[in-house]
Symmetry: D3
Subunit: 192 residues, 6 copies
């Protein structure tokens, strides 16, 4: 059986990629045991690849009021609303690992309002979804409600920026028919 | 830690349930190793419980042109559109088992248009989603297109009726905050 | 002129129907003077027919905090939102009779927010419509608001279950192109 | 029991209305046996009243390729989509009379796609609904399709203009809570 | 290069128009230096032309609690929601002139919630948009909120009626592909 | 009068910005005569600033099958659908300049289907809007239709990526209440 393609666009061979991109891919492969298809897909355009991952890391690896698991919750909730298969399945795996919770990703993907989250996380997700789906309605009242849950200005920017970044990411994944790697489906589901 | 409740409505104790319902629950428990929360939730109303499962079995256990895995595909796709946590997670498990495919349920739940299904299954899901989300637009042209994929009259009724039945089921699960049992999350994900 | 068909699916002749279904149809005909097309349409599938009417009767004939007219209000409001011709016209007739009010069904069908209902009935219909159209948003606040209007737990289940059941029924009627019987149009419009 | 008000805005007494408006109201009353509430409601603003009825009559009384019944079909279909109680109930009555068909108004109000109309009338209603609900999408292809059903340029203008005029009318009726007169509910339902 | 047509429907020559319509067009031309295409487009139907402008003037030239600039704000906000090119561009020009503000029209057209308007104007536009987009939801609470901003009964009628009138106007402009005159684009953008 | 703020988040003073960012801002100011507020707003987060503009330039300054004016058309059309005031007004100015057409930006912002664009540009905008508003529906048929208009694989990636990037940008601008600079309103409207 042939391997399904990571993307409907051409995927350059690793050998022909620019040095910095090849290094990054090999580092990811070393760490994870496989190369997530988002790296292969976006390597079609090296400059966009670099900007994409610089943006991604600035948002997802940042220290601040949101935990890394909470950042992944935002990704899963908004990517599900945008019906992005790659993002929900890949970031669902990361969320399970970061939250050390094998159920939370599936719960959030289907209906975050029924998920096992704290009231503070619920407020975070409500705002992230508003930014994702109807940002033109965001108003000062949203900021007031978030502040009441202890989110400061930097946290609010983080929530909004993660939601906005995955608005981009979800659209690229849907257009490129980016395929989730097989490895993601089971990651974080079994006790270590 | 307290066990989360299967439902926001009262759940009768198994001992006090009517005989026929108790027997059914114990049989399910015997077979599956646990009692899915839909049984406990709906036992709040014995007459509705009986009608619900009679309807369910008439549609899901029926022989006909649709395989059992295909019937579950319809459930997962439409329940995801309705953001029904219980139905997507529980029937996702059943779909994985019946299709002997650990990935198909997650793919369909996020975006069935990108899932590994045949063109015939895709047509089936398109129609099921139309019945689920905008049945008032169903027209003769839908029947013609389904016939072109080899679906006969009984198959079309089945697709529509499963989609319609889970329109009911999804709403009850959302209103009762029916909780997916822990067992469902991992079922069908590991090779036997 | 030929009689329009009750359904786009085949309708079995009464003589060939299973005994229990034939008996039910003849009883309805005896009482009403005609056989509503929902009976003829669903007889295409005897097991589903039995489950459907068992469910229907469990919800619509039940004693409890909702009057029978109020139960029909829920059917008319939600069926209109789903653009179900059979359900609005047939249950509109039943509502007129049960409410002894020749105007209420038309008012609710077009815009229940402008209908001659009590504030309690308005709250009931608001919740029924939420269950019908966006059940994934139902939250504890809805239960609190309903309780403030005097609805207890059983009443709330009833409202939700009737709305959910007609989500199923509306979809089947739209797919089968179930035709309202001529008799329904005038029923309950003239003083006795 | 007090009579429900025709409008949530003040209704001037007929004696104090400008002469031309009073004359029109008395003429309507003479012909119909009652004064439809749209006349009483809009008399709050004499200049708008005059423009409204001049526009209405130019569209609804015009000779041309559309029958008077067909013009009323457009009103009922689009007013139902806009959930305008006054317009659906009042023009439903007029449609029954003009079409000499006691069922057509209810059928169109609930789901015009299932109503007993000709293919030409179906195309007319499809276009009227597009103008009513998403006029920004109207394109040359719509004109081509209408021409294929024999509608000429004047007919197309008529369909669009009636749909557009009732976009105005529906909004005014909803804001003023314009109440359908009791007389409309039964008009055209009984054989003469 | 040929001049683009003002309308996809035939435009009568000014010489052949009825006297009163010709006089009005020449007066507009005298005053503005050009004939706005809405006059040429609607002259296709003289009776509708007369009613349209009588209605327009009754609403837009009326004295009352709303300034003329505020009336134009309503037109621009609701016409943008309806994606009406003619109305946004033509009335955007008039708004700039009446408000003596070269930015306000563009701000309102894109997102009135972010425009430089007073809280009272914001409440006015919120209500106008509700009438424009979901008038069936207008309720007594809307009237209470408007009253809190100092709008009296006549003001509320004005807001609603302007929004409703342009619901008609937007639809006619979209169907006729009414083209904004070149003159509108720059009007009111430069200091006098 | 106080100057309105470029953003609801703090804007660092240019002196305290990291060297590379300060240099970029001064270069923009030198070239344009002012600093567009997007630079000031995003300087709140230097790493995100760098990634944002690297991404932006990779897409908007790229050589390829789309002209620079066409790239801006995509920005204006999708930003208008997302009700992003900053993006429509700022990129509307750039579009006018790049297309040497003072009308095109306003036409596209209100309803791109009625704008003076070629059929090829119309197909480009239809696809950009689909990516922007419902990317989960993108399918092979879209690629086929674009190919028929002469768009190759790189062009299609460009259309999608610009639409996706401004999905991010529009959300950030709406959340930060990013204010269009006064200079943008008139740019490109007057003959040079």
């Amino acid at each position: 059986m042939t391997q399904p393609s990571p993307s409907r666009f051409p995927v350059p061979s690793i050998e022909t990629m620019p040095e910095d991109i090849r290094v990054r891919l090999l580092a990811v492969q070393e760490k994870s045991g496989f190369i997530p298809n988002v790296f292969l897909t976006l390597a079609f355009r090296p400059d966009e690849f670099r900007a994409f991952f610089a943006y991604h890391d600035a948002l997802m690896e940042r220290d601040g009021g949101l935990t890394k698991a909470e950042r992944e919750m935002i990704v899963v909730a908004t990517s599900s609303a945008n019906q992005c298969q790659y993002c929900v399945i890949a970031h669902g795996a990361i969320l399970r690992i970061r939250a050390k919770n094998p159920q939370i990703a599936d719960q959030i993907a289907v209906n975050y309002r029924k998920a096992d989250v704290t009231p503070r996380q619920r407020a975070m997700l409500d705002f992230a979804m508003k930014v994702s789906q109807e940002a033109h309605l965001v108003s000062e009242q949203d900021f007031t409600e978030l502040a009441a849950h202890g989110f400061d200005q930097d946290d609010i920017w983080d929530i909004a920026a993660i939601s906005a970044f995955f608005a981009l990411s979800n659209r690229m994944a849907n257009v490129t028919a980016m395929r989730p790697n097989d490895e993601f489906y089971l990651m974080g589901r079994l006790p270590k």
